[in-house]
């Protein structure tokens, strides 16, 4: 058994035995089928030991989003990322292969690449100048004459690659567990929805406009819940809909609209739903001006040609909020965005958001402006909605401090009728059961 796992299991048992925390993973979720109650114990959002256990049982074993293919198009392109607490370099090497390695010098541990992005044939550590190719190979030593023969070729002395790296429809994922199932198996039913999103491009999607980097003083799971939580829209975001109403001449109404939650396997969920507002592909709304109507209709006609009426209608008219377990959110609505959370502490996460557009749209100023404006008005950290989400999530985290007197979160909505309406909470129940089962599965290794 690898030593990290042994260490973790020992800690786990110490924690179980110490009685200092009353956390038993199997009891964090309380399900009462007869009375249709689904409760999550608030320690799940605050406990430091659980946070460490999540890192091992979930983040070290799941496929995690690391970047988009459009960020590393040319040989030598690279970006640096932090994924589950580790600094990584994602690069296209000089041969054109995608690489991902720990951004850590094999010599004495210094972080090597400090830029957020760039193009380089090699990376040199500032401390003692060990030099690596963009494929991660050690190509230069400072004072090589006093190193033993074969030292430079030793696998331990290369930049350490992450064990698994794969991509689906332009999204690049990594897995820290070399024994994990394949990415396609992991994505399971989510692939159907990723296809509906990526098919909006004739060839491929590209990132547009840069990146939004912000933070919330809240547990990372709160954002996973929030992303597929539709019944918060009207109470929490009236000022957003007021603004859209002022833009369009009338306040958007949800009357007659429908939506459904789907459970896609491995903890992934989606809410697919009608929208009272517009979609860049391809549902025009009055606030976008008459002049943009024709081009949006042309895009729609193209979808019909490519996919037929039914699928084109679904792609163009329905919104999708997709959560890829554990920490990736794709919002396909008035803008198309990828949101990735990085857990920092039980009560803190960093959030990074990118906007996506079909490559053929990227040169169209009006279309890009429409996407970026829609993105920042709703999902931007200075927009008309996201600051209120942050406030709500941070208020939840504050409330969890009282867990000894008020211990349970409720997710019972829709449980009695056993429906999967967009306005219910089944998608969150599904997420939490997956979360618990993954933690338990890891603990069973010890039994």
């Amino acid at each position: 058994m690898p030593s990290w796992r042994t260490a973790w299991l020992i800690n786990y048992f110490l924690w179980q035995a110490s009685g200092e925390t009353d956390v038993d993973i199997s009891e964090i979720i309380s399900i009462d089928t007869d009375r249709s109650r689904f409760k999550v114990h608030r320690s799940g959002y605050v406990n430091q030991d659980l946070f460490a256990a999540e890192r091992d049982a979930i983040f070290n074993k799941s496929w995690l989003y690391v970047g988009h293919e459009s960020e590393i198009v040319t040989a030598g392109d690279f970006v640096t990322r932090r994924v589950a607490g580790r600094d990584l370099v994602l690069a296209r090497d000089s041969q054109g292969a995608v690489r991902c390695f720990h951004n850590v010098c094999p010599h004495r541990g210094a972080k090597i690449v400090r830029e957020k992005s760039g193009n380089a044939r090699s990376f040199t550590c500032i401390y003692h100048a060990w030099k690596f190719s963009n494929a991660g190979k050690l190509i230069g030593l400072n004072g090589p004459e006093t190193y033993p023969p074969g030292f430079r070729q030793d696998p331990q002395h290369q930049l350490q690659p992450v064990p698994l790296l794969d991509a689906y429809r332009g999204l690049i994922f990594i897995n820290y567990d070399s024994g994990a199932v394949s990415l396609t198996e992991y994505l399971a039913g989510a692939k159907e929805y990723l296809d509906l999103i990526m098919d909006q491009a004739q060839e491929r999607m590209v990132l547009i406009g840069g990146v939004q980097e912000y933070a919330m003083r809240a547990n990372w799971k709160l954002l996973a819940e929030n992303a597929v939580d539709v019944f918060h829209l009207q109470p929490l975001h009236p000022t957003y809909f007021d603004m859209i109403g002022a833009l369009s001449g009338s306040t958007p109404s949800f009357k007659g609209l429908t939506g459904e939650a789907h459970y896609l396997g491995n903890g992934h969920t989606v809410v697919e739903m009608d929208t009272p507002a517009g979609r860049p592909i391809a549902k025009w709304m009055p606030g976008w001006g008459e002049e943009s109507k024709a081009s949006i209709e042309r895009v729609y006609a193209d979808l019909v040609r490519r996919f037929g009426e039914e699928r084109a209608f679904r792609i163009a008219n329905r919104n999708r909020n997709l959560v890829l377990f554990p920490n990736l959110v794709i919002n396909d609505h008035i803008s198309l965005t990828i949101r990735c959370t990085e857990p920092v502490a039980p009560d803190a996460m960093d959030v990074t958001v990118w906007g996506l557009a079909p490559e053929e749209e990227a040169g169209n100023e009006v279309a890009v402006k429409r996407r970026l404006t829609s993105f920042i008005e709703f999902l931007g950290p200075g927009g008309f909605a996201t600051p209120d989400d942050i406030e709500a999530l941070e208020l939840c985290q504050k409330g969890f401090a009282s867990l000894q007197g008020a211990p349970w979160n409720d997710f019972s909505k829709g449980m009695a009728s056993n429906t999967t309406s967009w306005m219910d909470e089944g998608q969150m129940r599904y997420f939490w059961v997956e979360w618990r089962d993954r933690l338990l599965r890891n603990c069973e290794v010890a039994a």
Binding site: T239, A246, G382, F384
Partner: protein, 164 residues
């Protein structure tokens, strides 16, 4: 528009300090009235070129006159949850200079530190303002205000729910 008489730095400072005072007092209606009819309020994303066009580069805020009006309306409502009850804010503005004048425009630079306290926590936003001012009927007005944050990202501040 007539050629503006060159303002003194004292006049410009008074204007900029008055603006900060209105914001600290949450007198946003009066603050909104400081802008010209066509106007912009921009807060670039810290990681991006601050002078990149908001049409092609993500901004934290890229308000035109319509959105700025809507933002002020929003911040006056109880349902602007992130700012209800209002945060307490204190703005320091310094290093005010007239950087250039061209045509009817007066380009003013200043630096700022804006403290926002809320729910027992203090967030600091800092950076520089670049105002483009014009004179309308004798009074100074803001044609554009660009607030360039000095942080690397909105971390740990998280969001920007106030006017910086």
């Amino acid at each position: 528009m007539s050629t503006p008489e060159t303002p003194s730095r004292a006049e410009i400072e008074d204007f900029i300090f008055h603006e900060a005072e209105l914001l600290d007092a949450w007198n946003l209606t009066e603050w909104r009235a400081l802008f010209t009819e066509e106007c912009r309020y921009l807060v670039p994303t810290p990681s991006a070129d601050p002078y990149a066009s908001p049409d092609s580069t993500l901004h934290i805020i890229a308000d035109d006159a319509f959105l700025l009006t809507e933002r002020v309306k929003r911040l006056g409502k109880r349902t602007a949850h992130a700012e209800f009850p209002h945060s307490k804010t204190q703005r320091l503005v310094s290093n005010v200079r007239i950087a250039a004048s061209s045509g009817d425009e007066i380009h003013v630079r200043s630096v700022f530190a804006t403290f926002r306290s809320r729910h027992g926590r203090v967030d600091t936003y800092y950076g520089r303002h670049e105002h483009i001012l014009v004179r309308e009927a004798g009074a100074l007005k803001i044609r554009q205000k660009r607030s360039i944050l000095g942080m690397e990202a909105l971390r740990p501040q998280g969001s920007l729910s106030i006017i910086v």
